[in-house]
């Protein structure tokens, strides 16, 4: 049993077996190629096709057949003569010879040698290397972050399977002429699939292709919806960002990383870099869902160029901004704290009105100058956590607070300037040490990893009461690590010879 095709040759319909069709196609292509340089090529080829159709009609009539087989095609082509015969009989015989030998390879999936779906084997054929190296590379990409899995699936969907003999030959870069065909019949394409795994994936592929197509389309529709929503929100986000250009939002983290003068370009770059893959995903999903090609090749090429441009812009600016993190600088100052046996550490949520506040809340600064406001936010949102305090043992009886301000910048001077721009301090009121909730900048500037590190040195025996709110700023000792009375807002700590300890533990420790 063989599969047959209907072809239209010389305006008549002919039933032809699949393998015979392949040979005939190759033959006609050779003929077309041979006469391609001839001014009358169309007429000549038409004449030849008509003649072949006539010969087929004779075969049907004489042999009482219904279908053209390989033998018929071979007898017809030998009667018609091969391109070589034409060459030897023609005047301009020198012009064709060289061009015909190099067959361009085409990328197909080689399911005959597949482990999963033949993507690697196909790539190996295409790049003319052994398939094991491609597989090794594929496994590496899977192990390193798993990007290979996605790439494999995408390639699986995109690359067509080499089904017919001529496709398999094009995949291997064999000449798709009669000689190549003869070769391929002598050395048939053996199915060397690597056992169960490939079979299973083959089945899976068939399922996805067949019954699974509906599921596939549903998934594609979901992707379309998601991608459309993503694109809309991206556009809204960009428009919002553009609209908020001059307002305070751009001075909040993470937007404050980007220098004002780059802001427009970075936004554009980000839009292109993020939006185009989203758009491509959308178009691809449309293609899968509706099995139609929504855009042509040129447009997708233009999209690719835009994406690369966007990526370039983004990378350029990211690199530029990164360079502003190159050097780090820090300076410290020490303040002597009046000695008390007990200290209370608290966060003060009140702060003075700043110029930014007045613009943010649209308040006339002249009227409220010098008044305090209460922030209702748990943590100011401008920057990542950047204030920390540690409590260590003092070598002498003095109580000292060292304040360490650090930042990054393009040069050391820049970094130092950024560090000096930090405004953060504490206030002592008897035994009460009050800290700001977050560091602030004296003048508006970009986020350059500004940090404040306070170290409080107290002599042994000093009790430190840390408010619950404050313990978040502490290095290494938390509110929950230390027993405290039910409902109490603070934990009590004691400085011992071994450093600071929770007071209960320290006392029970000395009891034993």
């Amino acid at each position: 049993m063989k599969k047959t095709l209907n072809i239209n040759i010389g305006n008549s319909i002919v039933h032809i077996e699949e393998d015979a069709y392949e040979i005939l196609t190759v033959y006609l292509n050779e003929v077309k190629f041979h006469f391609a340089k001839n001014a009358d090529n169309f007429e000549i080829v038409t004449d030849i096709e008509n003649r072949i159709a006539e010969m087929f009609a004779d075969i049907f009539l004489v042999n009482q057949k219904q279908v053209i087989s390989i033998e018929d095609v071979q007898s017809v082509t030998s009667q018609m003569g091969s391109v070589k015969d034409f060459q030897s009989e023609e005047e301009e015989q020198e012009d064709v010879t060289g061009a015909h030998t190099s067959q361009v390879k085409k990328l197909y999936r080689d399911t005959d040698q597949a482990v999963i779906a033949g993507v690697c084997a196909g790539l190996a054929h295409y790049m003319d290397i052994e398939d094991r190296w491609v597989r090794l590379a594929a496994i590496l990409t899977v192990l390193l972050g798993g990007s290979g899995v996605l790439a494999y699936i995408v390639l699986w969907v995109m690359i067509p399977k080499a089904e017919t003999r001529s496709e398999k030959m094009a995949m291997r870069g064999e000449e798709a002429n009669l000689k190549g065909f003869a070769n391929s019949y002598l050395h048939p394409f053996v199915n060397q699939s690597r056992g169960v795994l490939a079979e299973a994936f083959e089945l899976l592929g068939r399922f996805v292709n067949g019954t699974g197509k509906i599921i596939f389309k549903v998934i594609a529709l979901l992707i379309i919806i998601t991608a459309v929503l993503g694109l809309i929100s991206l556009i809204i986000a960009i428009v919002t960002l553009m609209g908020m250009w001059d307002t305070d939002l751009v001075h909040n983290f993470p937007f404050s990383i980007v220098n004002d003068e780059y802001f427009g370009m970075v936004t554009l770059g980000a839009l292109l870099t993020a939006g185009i893959p989203l758009l491509a995903l959308l178009l691809f999903a449309v293609r899968v869902a509706f099995t139609s090609r929504p855009i042509n090749r040129t447009f997708s090429f233009v999209l690719l160029i835009f994406w690369i441009t966007g990526l370039g812009i983004t990378i350029y600016h990211v690199a530029k901004i990164f360079s502003e993190f190159k050097e780090s600088a820090e300076f410290s100052q020490s303040t002597e704290v009046k000695p008390y046996s007990t200290y209370n550490l608290i966060i003060d949520r009140t702060r003075f009105f700043s110029k930014e506040d007045s613009t943010m809340y649209n308040i006339d600064p002249g009227k409220y100058m010098g008044r305090k406001i209460l922030t209702d936010r748990e943590d100011t949102f401008d920057m990542p956590r950047n204030v920390s305090l540690s409590i260590v043992k003092s070598d002498n009886e003095r109580v000292i607070m060292s304040q360490n301000y650090s930042s990054r910048g393009k040069t050391f001077e820049d970094a130092l300037r950024n560090a000096q721009n930090i405004q953060y301090s504490f206030v002592q009121q008897d035994s009460l040490l009050t800290f700001n909730p977050a560091l602030q900048l004296k003048r508006v500037s970009n986020w350059r990893d500004q940090e404040v590190e306070f170290v409080l040195r107290v002599p042994v025996g000093t009790v430190v009461k840390i408010s619950k709110e404050f313990s978040r700023y502490l290095n290494a000792y938390g509110y929950w690590d230390c027993d405290h009375e039910e409902g109490s807002d603070f934990t009590e700590w004691l400085m011992t010879n071994d450093g600071i300890k929770c007071r209960h533990e320290a006392i029970s420790g000395t009891d034993k």
């Binding site: 009358d40 000549i44 004449d47 003649r51 159709a53 009667q79 091969s82 015969d85 009989e89």
Partner: protein, 121 residues
């Protein structure tokens, strides 16, 4: 190899002439031309004829008419144009000359083989 090459050249030279001769007998279909050429053992493969016919037609020596066929697509029937007839006459003349030349050469060769002294005359 040498002989083969010369043979090919010879055939190629007279193929055109023969095609014109065959067509000159009256309106004729390409596959009938092929059949005649084959019986005259002038043509090895059919494919060579089509470019030749097209070239002759484009040079104004031939023209063709589409004739409906009972079995299959309409066929091209070739006829000689007046220009073609003129050229054919010239070729006839040349062919006669050639065949005389060959005949003479053969006769000379024959005589030479029997009587070598004749050559000096």
């Amino acid at each position: 190899m040498m002989a083969e090459n010369t043979q090919t050249q010879m055939r190629k030279g007279i193929l055109e002439y023969c095609v014109l001769l065959i067509i000159s007998k009256g309106e004729i279909y390409a596959s009938d031309i092929i059949a005649e050429l084959k019986s005259a053992k002038l043509l090895v493969v059919e494919g060579t004829l089509y470019p030749l016919l097209t070239r002759l037609k484009n040079n104004g020596l031939l023209s063709y008419n589409w004739v409906e066929s009972t079995s299959g697509p309409p066929r091209k029937y070739y006829v000689l144009t007046t220009e073609g007839t003129g050229i054919l006459n010239q070729l006839d003349y040349t062919w006669n000359e050639l065949s005389e030349a060959i005949q003479t050469a053969k006769n000379v060769a024959d005589k030479q083989s029997t009587n070598p002294i004749n050559l000096k005359k």
